[in-house]
Amino acid sequence: MADTAYAIEVKNLKKYFPIKGGVLKKTIGNVKAVDDITFNVKRNETLSLVGESGCGKSTTGRTILKLYEPTSGEIFLNGQKISDIPRGKFRRMRKDIQMIFQDPFSSLNPRMTVRSLLLEPLLTHKLASRKEANELVGEMIEKVGLSKEQLDRYPHEFSGGQRQRISIARALIVKPKVVILDEAVSALDVSIQSQILNLLIKLQEEFELTYVFISHDLNVVQHLSDRVGVMYLGQMMELGETKDIYNNPLHPYTRALLSAIPSLDPYEKKERIILHGDVPDPSNPPSGCPFRLRCPKAHDRCAEEKPRFLEKEKNHWVACHLFDE
């Protein structure tokens, strides 16, 4: 393992989904789900990817996990280049990088008991004998706040929050280094969300985990993240420390996004930035800046050239012509 401070490095990652059409199933276009993004995640930090539906944040997560083959670009896991390892070979390395899914009702096999769900990752990677594995399962289930007595039940006997705890246990039992959380709390009630988030924070410290947290809930993201990346139409618009992004957003899209956070104080005066129009078709994105059609500050240059992703302030990157003189 190469010595590096980064758990994950993503360089110029692209993921296009071909659109097939016609009698001969020829490729007639591409959905550019992820279009040339570069970022990295430091050890033990939480990087959040935010953006509206269809901006490519989930695709990014799944491509890092090699559930999708990247179209081009490089992905490094703990300094090792994984983007060109064949999927069959990568299977054995999956214990280092795990995923927690959005919907706890469909992410657990309904025909398996909690015990077999938790045993499966351990036995698959031959991390323990059956006897040891059983003990580890018992320890793990208690760490996520359930009890050993519940091990022989089936997923349908649990509530959404409990199921998500089971999913967390299943992902963490192999002691991964990186965990991708794809909208991991979005499907839960608000009261349950905070419990699960606190559990995730506790387990991150205990297991020294690196999180990539994919979400559209900006309140949750602010609570959990060290750094935040804002995505739009498959591209990274802004990336920086959480406090910088929330207190001093640079990109017009980030500003509009943050102004949409609902406030608990009904008397608070907020300047709401309303964006007009819809997200453009990712198979036919606009020229230049992807955001220019909805941007309140768009000017001629935005249509002509794609903005560079520049470090405007220390550790605060933005892709916008307003900051590129």
């Binding site: 299977r91 096999n109 992902a171």
Partner: protein
């Protein structure tokens, strides 16, 4: 499992089918005890006699007891049904899992071959296969098994493709579970409901096809007591000795009815959407 039987009992129609099938199974297993005579024994002085206390269902043109032959016929029917459907269901499960899981070119090849089989009517295809292999009980079972393979393949394939959309499969891949275990542990148990329903329905189809093949002289060969063979033999005499055809036909109709009733009721019972 217990809950399942409770629901089956509360569904009258399904229960009737279930009891009927149990009866057929009991009759087949206990045939030597139930039947008063050997199915081949000829009472030469009693040819084509109507039902009486000595011969409950009457006798056929060779003086054989129709009741005994009908009882032994249940053995043949069940044997053909179970083995033929076993062949078809196993082959269909394997092809369907491969087709549905890997998709792409393998899927195309398997499904086009199945389409060719689908293009022929069941009985015609079975006839052709038996004609090629030669008429016998074993070949009848093989032929019916082949005829049923495409139905099972298509059913399993579509079930696999719908199960594959579930996130627990992505989750298994993300954890690094071996593809073989994904198929056996995560996919197969979740496609069992439609598969079991199809098996009960195919059983009745197999029994009917065996009777038809035997009736045409290409299935079970005389003197073995198959319901289809009995129908064939009684063809010439049915106008003046209707009992020779009535009882084997009733046996076929009732057995098939029971399997269909059970199949329909299982389809509802195993459908999670219809669960209260």
């Amino acid at each position: 499992m217990k809950e399942f039987f409770q629901r089956l009992v509360s569904d009258k129609v399904g229960l009737i089918g279930f009891i009927g099938i149990l009866l057929v199974i009991i009759v087949a297993v206990l045939a030597p005890v139930i039947a008063p005579y050997s199915p081949d024994r000829m009472f030469t002085e009693h040819t084509l006699e109507g039902p009486s206390s000595q011969f409950l269902f009457g006798t056929d043109e060779l003086g054989r007891d129709i009741f005994s032959r009908t009882v032994y016929g249940a053995q043949v029917s069940l044997q053909v049904g179970l083995i033929a459907v076993g062949i078809g269901a196993t082959a269909g499960l394997i092809f369907g899992l491969i087709s549905g899981y890997f998709q792409g070119k393998v899927d195309q090849v398997i499904m086009r071959v199945m389409d060719v089989f689908f293009a022929f009517p069941d009985i015609l295809l079975a006839l052709t296969i038996v004609a090629v292999l030669g008429p016998s009980l074993t070949n009848t079972m093989i032929a019916i098994g082949i005829v049923f393979t495409p139905v099972f393949t298509r059913l399993v394939r579509s079930a696999v493709m719908s199960v594959k959309e579930n996130e627990y499969l992505t989750s298994a891949v993300a954890i690094g579970v071996q593809p073989v275990k994904i198929i056996t542990r995560h996919i197969t148990p979740n496609i069992m409901a439609p598969f079991i329903v199809q098996i009960t329905l195919a059983l009745s189809g197999a029994i009917l096809t065996e009777a038809a093949l035997s009736f045409l002289g290409l299935g079970v060969q005389p003197p073995d007591p198959s319901w289809g063979v009995m129908l064939n033999a009684s063809r010439t005499y049915m106008e003046f000795a209707p009992w020779t055809i009535l009882f084997p036909v009733s046996a076929i109709v009732l057995t098939i009815l029971c399997f269909n009733l059970l199949g329909d009721s299982l389809r509802d019972l195993l459908d999670p959407k219809l669960k209260q």
